[in-house]
């Protein structure tokens, strides 16, 4: 982020010399079309960074206001007021109040839904009383008109004391007028919407003096929010606590009184401004649709049908681009290996490029999943899903909003954990993040496929029900059940920090805005590649080193041994090469690790070879298949049937098949539960801002996997 600001600094200074408007913040209620407006103003000139110290995404972009003038636009999280109720919303007060922060906005654009002006103006009046220069972007004029809401812009402008631009951000109407307006120098309104009550006067004056503020309302906000203002020192906070104590300041009561007073004032303003002519057609339509979509039978059936469609898309449609990526990476590696040689080339191909491939391969699934989630959210259907699921989820310590992360977890836990941010309640959010990795993610599929093919016969029931398919579905169900039951356990163990609530706007159904859907897909894929990618690549390289080098001359000796054995058996060149890599892997550091942990995993039915696979699976679970191929000297040909035949012919010490159903199911269960994903651990660390959570996940999930796999192996053999 620092780089961005430096790069733009000269430009910003130039702009400041002529016009003071260089940094513009977008602020408004959720669902007021803020994101559409941001996209319209900036196009693809967007950057996602972090607000300092918190994990909230900070979206900034550059907008060309006039041919000569650019402005930096900051998109702030949607909020109903300046009293934050969630972590996301706290970013707003940090940005607006911190006197030291040099990127405080010069102007705020307040977006308001014209069809719901009353509630949208609450936030505006608070900003106005802070005397921050503002423009009111009256969005969704088309919706308001369709609902018969007529707004007198002239009178509204006069009463609010700021320019008001009617617009329809989805279609780009009003953008040009807004750009011209904000390219000019704008002053703050002089209209007051709320006077600090006389009984609070001494306190407010005291705060103004200590922090040399000149705004009453800002001083009042210091009193309400000093605990969360990160720029206040400990001394300041102690001083503040004492002052509030002596003045008998009751934050909750004062906030409630203020909100009521503001609504009274807004009602006065709107009396002359808004006229409603006819009943709401759209709401009637929404209500009719809801009678079906949230029906106690059809509602769930439709939801299940949609889920089925999403899974179908994520697994069936995504396989084509995934195969392309896979082949592309393989072709690139072959090309490099044919033309160059040496250990560095091996590191590049088998370490770096293979690791990159492991990241890129997930993009199709993540893109398709987030396309669906974005569409469902845009249309307003997701709000209905959380509404229908809330009561059930609450029984397990979750929240209606946990549904999205849990569903996303089936594709990949990394974006799923990120999507838990919409849950305001700390406890609900932590539980959701904790249990999401138990959902069977797509990286487990290759492992499941190989092991199921190995021990489950391809039998059909009733002509269409494939036994292998049923076992696969059973594993998904197992993942879901373990997630739900673990949530229940955490519900008892964790103490709530604040009350859980579900008060939220229930949007009317709307057509999705495709531009927003496209940008969501782009952004999520990028975040995944950047956040998870660097760790997967790093771990891949480390594991490659562990698997490619051994102590002393063990590698040469392994090769000699393999060549000697190949001569005795009369193997072909390819078979000899495979035997060499197999013996070399055994004598590598990774192989030694496998031997070292063998005593610990023998009760689960595993030997040192599987031990190596368990270690390499930490980069990503699907690496299991590749490792198993190398170790059983199957070679590069990663074809399920070849792997299956080879594994089936593997014998134990007594000459019986090694992969018995007991061993295979023990492995399946282990992979279903174990936390073998460094990327997920990293993202959980980032999202919870503590090492405690990822460590707890690692211990809990791996422990659960160990115990369950042990039980399965002992019971089945």
């Amino acid at each position: 982020m620092a780089v961005t600001i430096e790069a733009e600094a000269p430009e910003a200074k130039k702009a400041t010399a002529h016009h003071p408007v260089a940094r513009i913040a977008l602020i408004g209620n959720p669902n007021s079309g803020k994101t559409s407006l941001f996209n319209q103003l900036t196009g693809l000139n967007q950057k996602v960074g972090n607000f300092p110290g918190v994990t909230v995404d900070k979206k900034t972009g550059v907008s060309q206001l006039t041919p000569q003038l650019k402005a930096q636009i900051i998109d702030l999280p949607g909020s109903y007021s300046l009293y934050p109720k969630s972590l996301d919303e706290r970013v707003i007060i940090d940005l607006l109040y911190d006197p030291a922060l040099n990127n405080r906005p010069d102007l705020v654009i307040v977006t308001a839904d014209a069809s719901n002006l009353k509630r949208n103006l609450l936030l505006f009046t608070q900003l106005a009383d802070l005397r921050i220069p503002a423009v009111l972007a009256l969005n969704m004029m088309d919706v308001a008109e369709a609902e018969g809401v007529k707004i007198d812009i002239e009178v509204l402008q006069r009463d609010l004391g700021v320019p008001v631009i009617p617009m329809n951000a989805r279609k780009g109407i009003g953008i040009a007028a807004l750009k011209i307006l904000i390219s000019q120098q704008l002053a703050a309104t002089e209209v007051s919407f709320f006077e600090v009550p006389a009984r609070l006067r001494p306190m407010v004056d005291g705060i103004k003096e200590r922090f040399s503020l000149n705004n009453d309302y800002l001083a009042l906000h210091y009193a309400h929010q000093y605990k969360h203002l990160r720029f206040l020192s400990e001394d300041d906070k102690v001083w503040m606590a004492q002052l509030l104590e002596t003045q008998g300041f009751k934050s909750t009561t004062e906030q409630a009184n203020e909100t009521i007073a503001r609504y009274v004032r807004i009602n006065e303003v709107l009396l002359d401004v808004v006229r409603v002519d006819k009943a709401k057609e759209e709401e009637k339509f929404s209500n009719k649709l809801d009678q079906i979509l949230t029906h106690r039978v059809y509602g769930y059936l439709i939801f299940m049908g949609l889920l089925f469609l999403v899974f179908q898309a994520v697994f069936a449609w995504a396989s084509y681009p995934m195969d392309l990526i896979d082949e592309g990476i393989a072709a690139l590696n072959t090309l490099i290996q044919e033309n160059f040689n040496g250990p560095l080339i091996n590191l590049l191909t088998e370490g770096v490029i293979a690791g990159l491939g492991g990241v890129l391969i997930f993009i199709p699934q993540i893109a398709i999943l987030f396309a669906f989630i974005a569409i469902l959210e845009e249309t307003g259907y997701m709000a209905r899903v959380t509404f229908m699921m809330d009561k059930i989820m609450r029984k397990f310590g979750l929240n209606g909003k946990s549904v999205v992360p849990l569903i996303s977890g089936v594709a990949c836990a990394v974006p799923a954990v990120m999507s838990a941010r919409t849950i305001e309640n700390w406890k609900d959010r932590m539980i959701t993040i904790f249990v999401t990795p138990l959902m069977s993610c797509s990286a487990r599929i290759p492992v499941y496929t190989v092991l199921i093919a190995l021990v489950v016969p391809e039998v059909y029931y009733l002509g269409f029900m494939n036994l292998q398919g049923i076992v696969l579905m059973g594993l998904y169900l197992l993942g879901f059940l373990s997630a739900i039951l673990s949530a229940l356990l955490l519900k008892v163990l964790l103490k709530a920090r604040e009350r859980s609530y579900f008060i939220m706007e229930f949007p009317v159904y709307r057509m999705p805005r495709w531009k927003n859907v496209g940008l969501t897909i782009f952004e999520k894929s990028r975040t995944f590649v950047l956040e998870a990618g660097k760790i997967i690549v790093a771990v891949s390289i480390i594991l490659w080193v562990l698997a490619s080098y051994g102590p002393g001359d063990s590698f040469e000796r392994a090769e000699e041994r393999a060549v000697a054995e190949a001569e005795v058996k009369g193997l072909s060149d390819v078979q000899t090469d495979n035997l060499i890599s197999s013996y070399q892997l055994e004598s590598s550091y990774a192989g030694r690790f496998g031997h070292a942990i063998e005593p610990a995993i023998r009760p689960l039915g595993y030997d040192w070879k599987i031990g190596i696979a368990l270690l390499t699976s930490f980069a990503a679970r699907e690496v299991f298949v590749g490792t198993i191929s190398t170790i059983y000297s199957i070679g590069e040909e990663e074809n399920v049937t070849t792997i299956k035949d080879k594994l089936m012919s593997e014998k134990d010490a007594d000459g019986n098949p090694f992969f018995t159903p007991a061993r295979a199911f023990s492995l399946l269960i282990f992979y279903a539960f174990a936390m073998q994903c460094i990327s997920t651990l990293a993202i959980v660390r980032r999202e919870t801002k503590s090492w405690m959570w990822p460590l707890a996940q690692l211990v809990y999930m791996t422990g659960l996997a160990y115990v369950s796999a042990f039980a399965v192996f002992q019971l089945m053999s």
Binding site: T252, T259, Y263, E283, T294, F502, I503, E505
Partner: protein, 105 residues
């Protein structure tokens, strides 16, 4: 000694039971005294008189549930909870125990 310990725990248990009954009793009394959004039937409206849970009230007030405003119970989720209400011409969804804190005239 052991006997006294058991008696003490038993006493604590009875106390907590009594306290619980008291809370339930108070709640019943309160709801008998005043109607809340929870008591509305689907399609029925009422005027907000007050909000009886200070913490929840802040969120509800911001969302436009101010004393004097009209609320209409719009729909209920399949298992009866949460519900949606219409206030200030827009739809809000909330849980039953949240709806209970919105008292009506």
């Amino acid at each position: 000694m052991q006997y006294r310990g058991t008696a003490c725990i038993l006493q604590l248990f009875i106390n907590s039971l009594n306290k619980r009954r008291e809370i339930v009793h108070n709640r019943v009394q309160e709801s008998q005294q005043q109607k809340s959004v929870r008591d509305l039937k689907i399609g029925e409206s009422g005027e907000i008189s007050s909000l009886n849970d200070p913490e929840m009230a802040l969120k509800l007030l911001e969302m436009g549930c101010i004393p004097g405003a009209e609320v209409k119970l719009n729909s209920k989720a399949p298992f009866g909870d949460p519900v949606t209400i219409i206030v200030n011409d827009y739809t809000l969804s909330l849980r039953l125990d949240e709806a209970e804190t919105i008292l009506l005239k």
